[in-house]
Structure formats: C-alpha cells, structure tokens
C-alpha cells in the first residue's frame, strides 16, 4: 500500500484541505469499525502514540491511538492555519508540519514564489523530507491551492518545483482553483498565468476547479432541498456538499459546502488506491492512461450523484442516470462542456455496488454521443472500487482529458493581456528580486503554446481520419 502527502498552500488551499481531512476521517470511520490502524488508513494518516508527542515514531499495527494527517500546511498569514489548529481538527495535524508567516503575499505571485520561496526553501524541504520519511512507500504529493492569489499561487507553485527537484519519482497531482471572471482580486490573471507555466512544466496531473461551477452545484442542491420535493427523503450525509457526520458540525462557513465538493473529489480519486475492488485503479494508472502527451495533463472532473435518496433499492435506471449525469455540463467542476468538445481520454472510477456489466452497458450507451480523438476511439479507463462513499450505495468520478478546458485558458489569457498591455500593476511584481519582464512573456507564451496544442487537436474533430497504413510483411 502506498502513502500520499497533502501540501495545502494559502487560504484557499488550507480551507479545502481542512474539509478534506475532515471528510477523510468520516469516510474511514464508516469503513473501519474495529478501530485497527489498517493499510487504508495509512495512506493518508500516521498512527502515533501521543505520550511521546506528535512527533513520535509511527505505530504500524494494532489499535488506533492518535491519527496524524500526512500533511504540510503552508500559509504566509496566520489566520486560516490558526483557526484550523484551534478548531475540532487540531489533533489531526502535527504541530511541526506547518509553515506560517504574518504578512501574507498581498495577492502577488512574485512575493509568494520568489520572495517567500527563497526565504522558506530550506524549511519547506526539511518538512517535506520529514513527511516522506514517515512513509513506507510514498507515491504521490497532492497540492491544493488557488491560482488567483499570492501564496497559493506563487508559493504553491514554488513547492511544486521543489517537489520535482527533491522527489522526482513521486507523482505530483495538483488541485487548482481557478479564478472566476468576476474575481475581486484585480491581479488574479497575472497570478494565474504565472502559475500556469509552472503547472505546465512541473505537474503530472492538474485537476482544475472553478468557483462558479462549485457555486452552481451548491445552488442546485439547495434548490432541491428547498423545493421540498425530495427534502425529507434525501440522506443528509450523502450530499456531496455536506459535512454531516464529520467532526465539524457547528457553524458551516460559506465556502464549506463548495470546499466539500473538492474534498470529495480527492477522496474519490484515491478510493481505489486505498480500498479493495475487482478492478483497481491506482494513482499511477490515472497518470499513465490520461496523459497522452506530457503537457496535456489537465483533467476535467465530475462527481455524481450529488445526493442520494433514502430508498434502499436502486433500479438500474438510476444507476444509468448517474453515468449520464457525469457527462452533463452542470456536473463538471469547471465551466466546460466536455460533450461538445474532443475527448483525448476518459476515466470512470466507480465506487460501491456496481458491476462490470453496468459499466460496460453505460459506456456502450454513451460513447456514440461523445467525440473521441481519432487515435483513441475507445479511450476509456475504468476502475471498480467496492467501498462506496459515506451515505451512498454507489458513486462515480469521471476524469476527462478533454479540449473543453481550452475556453478557460483562452479567457485567462485574454484577461491577462488586458492588464499586461497597459502594464497595469506590473511594478508590484517587477520590484521583487528575481522577477523580470521575461517571466511574464515566457508565462503567456507557455499558455499560448498550450492553447495551440488544444487547437490542433480540435481541428481533427469530426474529420474522418484515414487509418495509417500498416507494416507490410514480405511473404
């Protein structure tokens, strides 16, 4: 069994991360009835004896004493991290696995990346090494951050770089929250584009998320509850947005519901690596199957169902509806419509009581309405995990490498260019040591190249390809 370490950077990263750990505990509590520290738990948690302090050697077998998250919390201001450490989850975090500062990054990528990066480099490496040492077999680093700010964006991508240098064999999966059009941070396009270059070059897989989509999903669920149609029959803890049953049940903060969705994304992504099933899908398989060319590693995700009704028997119709929903526009976690764009690859990770025949039936049913690139007409990767998420009997995570990310990137570039042409706010960045105009031109160039790669692929859509002629053998 392998372990993963979560690095949460910045306000957004830490808030999402906090929800992740909360829901992870909830999930394991539901599965692990005996209180024995098992392999599944060890993928994200260490088991320590509190008497020797949180830093003690891990206990590998036997009962759970005290679980510590395999996490590193980084923020250049103290507010968010302090709140976590005073909240109900304080015991889950190792007090030594934090890096904080006081003044924040001022929504400035350069401050996060160049200034704090340089300042905290040794410290970060040391703490990463520590968490790696605690792992028997470290497979993956998960970075959670936002693109629009200063710390998550700048320092977060600095950490990404560092991970590639120090731990080249370990996978780097990045969950990035992209700014929406009406973002109130004026410099978010600069920060995002500068961060994109780093993601292009150093990440193995990126799971982009947009606040607008999360917001729409939350609204949709609220509408369903409030309309009274399904309210009483909906299992509260099954809502993909809910914290019900987790440690933190008191006041739900405004972003909690949205952050829970992202937390659930990560839980579902890693479920097959942690729990058993008839067709396992590990993280390295995700990277292998969904990344046909090194730079095209942006995966659009969707989670279904958004909630479960309380009735026990699930007729196949509802199961099939789950599959259909996974491809609909309003279940995607970014503003994109994969159905009308070109698929390079698609992964379906099913959890719970679903069999291979259900999977195959739905793939057959749906594939005619989807466009796959000519050299990957049957580009499906499937996984079956027996353990469903809390509150559900089954669920589906769809990951698509699809050209529908292109509009998001194009918009980002346009917003960037609007500011850059006028050189607005540029001086805030250029005054940072190590930052030059070329950083900007290189970053936008990297983004343009990426967009171009997607354009070339889109051009092949719908064009009937001729199969390349096969090798001829002399008889």
């Amino acid at each position: 069994m392998t372990q993963s370490v979560v690095v949460q950077v910045g306000q957004c990263g830490n808030q999402v991360g906090c929800r992740f750990w909360d829901l992870a505990l909830r999930e394991h509590a539901a599965v692990n009835k005996k209180g024995i520290y098992d392999e599944a738990l060890s993928s994200f948690f260490r088991n320590v004896d509190t008497r020797s302090g949180g830093d003690g050697p891990g206990i590998y077998k036997g009962k759970i004493c005290s679980l510590k998250a395999r996490a590193l919390l980084i923020d250049m201001e103290e507010g968010v991290v302090n709140e976590i450490l005073q909240g109900p989850l304080r015991d889950v975090f190792d007090s030594k696995q934090l890096i904080t500062d006081v003044s924040g990054s001022g929504n400035n990528w350069a401050v996060g990346h160049k200034l704090y990066g340089y300042q905290y480099r040794e410290n970060i490496v040391e703490k990463l090494r520590k968490s790696a040492e605690h792992c028997d077999c470290l497979q993956c680093f998960f970075i959670i951050h936002s693109m629009g700010g200063g710390t998550g964006s700048g320092l977060g991508t600095f950490v990404l770089n560092l991970l590639e240098d120090e731990f080249p064999e370990v996978y780097r999966f990045v969950t990035s929250v992209y700014p929406s059009g009406e973002d109130d941070v004026i410099t978010s396009p600069y920060n995002s584009v500068l961060a994109m270059k780093e993601l292009n070059e150093h990440a193995d897989c990126v799971l982009p998320v947009e606040n607008e989509s999360l917001f729409d999903i939350v609204n949709k669920i609220n509408q369903m509850i409030n309309s009274g149609k399904l309210g009483s029959t909906m299992k509260q803890n099954s809502l993909v947005t809910s914290s019900a049953g987790s440690v933190k049940t008191l006041q739900e903060k405004p972003f909690d519901a949205m952050n829970n969705i992202v937390a659930n994304l990560l839980l579902n992504l890693t479920s097959s690596a942690r729990f058993e099933g008839s067709l396992n899908m590990d993280l390295n398989e995700i990277s292998m199957n969904l990344v046909p060319f090194p730079r095209l590693h942006y995966l659009v995700s969707s989670l279904t169902p958004l909630y479960t009704l309380a009735d026990v028997n699930v007729p196949s119709r509802r199961l099939d509806q789950m599959f259909s929903d996974a491809f609909s526009r309003d279940h995607q976690l970014i503003q994109a419509d994969p159905k009308h764009s070109l698929y390079l690859a698609c992964a379906l990770l099913v959890r719970g009581n679903v069999q291979v025949s259900d999977l195959r039936r739905n793939i057959e049913r749906l594939k005619s309405s989807l466009h796959f690139v000519s050299w990957n007409q049957e580009g499906w990767k499937t996984g079956l995990c027996s353990v469903p998420p809390v509150g559900h009997s089954h669920s589906l995570l769809a990951l698509a490498n699809n050209t529908c990310v292109k509009p998001t990137f194009i918009e980002l570039k346009e917003r960037f260019m609007k500011l850059y042409k006028k050189k607005a706010h540029l001086h805030h960045y250029l005054q940072i040591d190590g930052m030059e105009q070329s950083c900007f031109s290189e970053a936008v160039s990297s983004l343009s190249d990426l967009i171009e790669e997607y354009n070339e692929l889109d051009a092949t859509k719908g064009v009937p390809g001729t199969d390349p002629s096969r090798l001829k053998i002399a008889v």
Partner: protein, 453 residues
Amino acid sequence: MSIVTVQLGQCGNQIGHEVFQSLCSDIRGTHGLCSKKENQSYQDACKERFFWEEESGVPVARAVLVDMEPKVISQTLSTAARSGCWKYNNQSHFCQKQGSGNNWANGYSVHGPRHKESIMNLVQKEAEKCDRLGGFVTIMSLAGGTGSGLGAFVTQCLRDAFPTSFILNHVIWPYGTGEVIVQNYNSVLTLSHLYRSADALLVHENDVIHKVCAQLMNIKHISFRDVNQVIAHQLGSVFQPTHTPEGGPNYSRNPLGDLMETLVPHPEFKMLGLRNIPQIPETSLPYSTFSWPGLIKHLRQMLIANAQMEEGIDWQVRPPPAGSSTPSSHSTKRPLHFNTSIANLVILRGKDVHSVDLGSFQDPCLYTSWLNPQDAFNAWRTPRAFNKYEKSASLVSNSQFLLKPLDSVVGKAWNMFASRAYIHQYTKFGIEEEDFLDSFTTLEQVISSYSTL
C-alpha cells in the same frame, strides 16, 4: 507430472484463485458418474498435478502469486484459506507496494529485473516440490502493467531457467471497448515477447466470456467474479486429468506436453483458442439433457464459423469443397468466413464418451494441407464427468480463431502509435520506439502467417 502455476497481476491472481477453487470443488463432488475407484484415481491425478499436501491434509496449490501491489494477493490468500478445502502456501507470494501503473515498460524493464531473483526463487521452490515437473502455466492479462509487462519478463526467465520445460501462457484478452486506454500497446508488447519464449498462448477474450455470461448463463449483473468463474470452468475442462489415446487406462501424465504435441507443430503458430459446451446456469443443470451428436455438431460448427458460443452460430458457413483453396485476405474489410485450422483437440468428459463419433472433425477440408488429418486432430475421452455437467466437450484449437482480435488490437495500437500518443510514458522506463516497431513487426508476421493458411 505436476504443473506449477504462476499468477501475475490482479487479473492473474483473481482468475488463478477461481481455477483452483473450481478444480477442488470438482474433485470433491460426487457427480463423477463413475466408479469409486475411477473417482479416486481422478482425484489423485488432479492432486498430483495441482496440489501438494501438508500435514493437516489440506491441499496446497502449486502456485506462485506475484503482484506489484498487495491488496489483491492478500484477498486471494485469505479467501482461499477460508474455503477450508484448499489453500495457498503462505510463503509462495511476492508483492510490492506500488503497482505498475498499467505501464508495460514499468513491469518489464523496472520491476522485472529488480525482482527477478525473488520471484524465480519462489518458482524454483515450487518446482522442487514436484516429483516430476510437467511445466508451467502463467495466468495474466494483456491490458495492464504487471500481468503483461512483468509477466512477459517472468516468462522469459522461466524459459532461461527451465529450457526443457513446457510453458503455456494463459492470457486474458481485454474488452474491445477499453478497460485501460493503453491496453493495445500493452497487448502488442506482451504478445510479441511471449511469442518468443512460450510454447503456446491459450487465449480467453473478455468480450466472449461476457457474452457467455449474459446469454447462456443468464446472469443479470455480470461481475468480474462471474467472468472469472466461467474462465475457470473452461480451463478446468482442459486441465483436469484425462485419458489420452496412448495412455491406456491411466490418466495422462504429461498434460502440457500432450497439449503442445497435438496442437503446436510449428513455432510460428502458437495461438490457441478455447471453446466449451454446454454452458448453462448451475440451477438448470439438473433439468437439462444433452446428446453427444447434438453437442458435437454444434462444436464443429462453432469451429468452422468461428462462433463464440453455442448460440447465434452461423450455420451457412461450410468448409470449402475439396481441392479449392481458401480465400486468404490480409485486410480486415473482408471477413474470413471459414475458419481454417492447423490442429484441433477435442476433450470429452462424462457419460458414454467412448461411443461418440468424432469423424466430422477429421474432415481434411477443415485443415491446412501440411499435416495428415489423423495428426491434425486428436481426442481425449474421459468417462469421469466434470463439474456437474453430465456431458461436457471442450475444443482447444490452433486455428484462425484469434486472427480477427489480433488484427484489431494491432490495428488500434498502430493507429495510436502513428500519433506517438503515450509513448513518453514508455520511454520514461526504457522502452523505445524501436522496441514498439519490433513488436509490431513480429505480430504482423504472425497475422500474415495465420491469414494465409
């Protein structure tokens, strides 16, 4: 003679478990329809072939379990032990922590050399436990990373370490509509490598078995377990003890050798397909009767028309009239209607086997002209019934059965290769474009050979 089974990867281990389970439940059953003495002899032969006994009397499977991540093996070991009637040797497994990530290159070039010694040690130990080693059967899938990549490497090692032993690769052909996106690459690389080291490849296609489950076994929600159980039944029908024509009253002592001798006359032709009839839900067994002439007629037509099971057979297909040559075609556009065979083996088990007329299988127009029809066709008849089927017939065929699937997989892989998609994932671990080209060439050669039969 004993057979050592090497189970590789998730698929290999899951199927291997069902196989041993099926063998055990067959020998313990009272459905043999034969004398007690005969039954005892059958049990002993099966045990010698597949199990050794420990002091407690529980049969231990002659198997080595290999996987690059621990979850499946630990499940397999515990489920077997729980059955109470057989188990695996707790020492006889090797696993790592991280898996192969569906990457053939990772399985072959990284895990292979790294773990060669440990794995071969385990194999050596199992081989030494056999009084007489009859050979190796490996079970693996083509689509993934461990079964396929590490499996290809291990097969090579087996060949190097046991140059005179028989090696049969039992391979699982993935569903046509992806389980794994890079499955065609992995399949091409595996098949080409296995072809060089193994004596024969016995193929089961997921699509075919899935259809059997859906249409013959009437299973509504087919799980991998259902598929694996059908595969295990079909394998059991081939590998359980049989009488060969020369063997006299005793069971054959060299099953793999006999198989190779009858079916693989030429090293260029190693692809074996398997069909088994009848296949019906277990609950229907007590209410069904079959006649040998009916079964044989269906089996023969399944062979000729390349049918996947006993329903939906195309009865229009007829062997070409004697003297004319069968149309050969390389392109996939013109389907080959008539399935030409190199050699066939029919295994009959159950009531009245000795009275069955198999003359229809000896018709020379079913075969190529190289072998005498008497040599091209063989039959093994065993009165002891198998797995509760009063009458059961299996066909192991070295014919054009697998030509279309092979052509399809190579075509799709080539199509993907032309755009160089995913290649960076392989070169990362040391498999270069040239290696791909070599594999393509090897398989195009095999396709060409089978097409021009």
